[in-house]
């Protein structure tokens, strides 16, 4: 399969502090890549660079054959093809679940209202929230909000979905429902996914590749089960020891 995302010698600095050091990283179409690593290691920054919520400082980013920095003017095109799910859900608080999901198709894909609403209904159904379509985000549980957020990201029909710790803000009993939805998306639609998470069960079950980041670098990568069973670096051994105890 061809690469849909490619980072070549990418560095990212905030002010004078470099937080990503010379990253080389590619994702094939249909691949599910899981990214793990300690807090502050640059996982969020890495995936935020992919949809240009952060601009890379040096190097090259190629997403769906759009090149950054050469084609800065096409950032919106990249974002149409690369959806994102956030740790804090970030649902629009003044819109109902249905309006949240229909907003992207209407404003980004310029669909008419009834078509956008149809798409939104079928996606809410897919994430198991059909009967909650008229609820505001504040009236939903964390797990339900995150499922709406996933439906919202899917609604613009992207080629890639990025997840930034989608279950970290949830109560333990709600993690499963969100992971189930993510598993279904990976299996049914063959969606390309880059998932930052510490859910090692999910990584083993759904991930095609596991990436361990530390201090702004990709330290280890490989098949999830291999990486988990045979960590090479002390840092990863240490890290795995910590997540397992949670």
């Amino acid at each position: 399969m061809p690469n849909i995302i490619e980072l070549k010698n990418v560095c990212k600095s905030f002010g004078n502090t470099e937080v990503l050091h010379n990253i080389n990283f590619a994702v094939e179409e249909g691949e599910v890549v899981v990214v793990i690593g300690p807090s502050g290691s640059g996982k969020s920054t890495l995936i935020r660079c992919i949809n240009c919520l952060e601009m890379i400082t040096t190097g090259e980013l190629i997403v769906d054959s759009i090149r950054i920095p050469d084609e800065q003017g096409r950032i919106r095109q990249i974002r149409l093809e690369v959806g994102m799910v956030f740790q804090q859900f970030n649902l629009f608080p003044h819109m109902t679940a249905l309006e949240n999901v229909a907003f992207g198709p209407r404003k980004a894909r310029k669909m008419n209202k009834s078509k956008a609403t149809d798409i939104a209904r079928s996606l809410l159904d897919k994430v198991g929230l059909a009967e909650f379509e008229n609820k505001l985000p504040g009236q939903l549980s964390g797990g339900q909000q995150q499922r709406v957020a996933i439906a919202r990201a899917l609604a613009v029909n992207p080629k890639v979905l990025l997840f930034d710790e989608p279950t970290s803000a949830l109560d333990p009993e709600m993690i499963g429902e969100v992971l189930d939805v993510m598993k279904n998306i990976a299996k049914d639609s063959g969606m390309t996914m880059v998932v930052v998470t510490h859910e090692m069960g999910f990584a083993a079950q759904v991930g095609n590749r596991l990436i361990f980041m530390d201090d702004g670098r990709i330290v280890e990568e490989g098949k999830p089960s291999d990486v988990m069973k045979n960590p090479q670096s002390e840092r990863l051994k240490d890290f795995l020891g910590h997540v397992k105890h949670h």
Binding site: L53, R79, L80, M84, N90, F92, H94, G104, K107, G138
Partner: protein, 240 residues
């Protein structure tokens, strides 16, 4: 001390005229102040992350200029008393115009000066209300919208705008009431608003208690009407 109710009745027609003028200055002042306030408030955060992405190229400098002009306006107005602003506009500004141009008979009507003063003064405070409400909107919502490929303009109109407007209503109500009461200061430039009318009746009959009590109640009725209008808007908006 005796309270003559007939004094109140006799004073009502003149006081009503004053109240009408107070209301007129306030409404025009608030409408103009909202326009100034929205422009200056958004101007102070032009080109910052609060309104989405940072600008490129020449727009960086344009946005810096807009921020400085808006900031200077707000600080200038907040830093000087409204009564000084009114007197400057009514007495000093025409002299300034005469000095730098050869227009001999330049004059500003007292009523015009009053309305402009409220517009400019309320505008500066409303700018801060607008700015505060917009930057209080969770930046994650913008990121979520941008991640869907939605344009910045659409996000300002459909996400930041509606959320910020809900948060503006209580402090705006406050400012509208302050502006209404500020019109009483225009007694110094001779505008026949409510306080001035009260003062003139008082000067002819010396019935301080009846007149100032009536004037106070009339202000209270007007401020209550303003507050209730805003409460109505607040309730009508879908809350979350």
């Amino acid at each position: 001390m005796d309270f003559e109710f007939s004094v109140v009745i006799d004073s009502l027609p003149a006081l009503f005229e004053g109240a009408k003028l107070t209301w007129y200055i306030t409404i025009l002042g608030i409408i103009g102040g909202m326009i100034f306030g929205i422009l200056a408030g958004l101007g102070r955060i032009a080109g910052t992350a609060a309104l989405g992405e940072k600008p490129h190229g020449i727009f960086i400098w344009v946005s810096v200029l807009i921020r400085y002009i808006s900031g200077a306006y707000v600080e200038l107005i907040r830093g000087t008393p409204i009564i000084v602003q009114a007197m400057f506009l009514y007495f000093a500004f025409p002299m300034l115009v005469k000095a730098v141009t050869d227009i001999e008979r330049f004059r500003i009507e007292a009523l015009t000066a009053a309305i402009i003063t409220i517009i400019v003064n309320a505008g500066a405070y409303i700018a801060e209300i607008v700015r505060g409400s917009v930057i209080s909107v969770n930046k994650g919502l913008l990121e979520a919208g941008m991640s869907l490929g939605i344009s910045r303009f659409q996000l300002i109109v459909h996400v930041i705008g509606p959320i910020a407007i809900r948060r503006m209503i209580p402090p705006l109500g406050n400012q509208f009431i302050i502006s209404l009461k500020d019109t009483s200061l225009f007694i110094v430039i001779g505008v026949g608003e409510l306080t001035r009318q009260g003062q003139e009746i008082m000067a002819s009959n010396f019935r301080a208690l009846e007149i100032w009590l009536t004037v106070a109640i009339m202000y209270l009725i007007m401020t209550t009407a303003l507050a209730m209008t805003l409460r109505h808007f607040e309730k009508k908006m879908k809350m979350f």
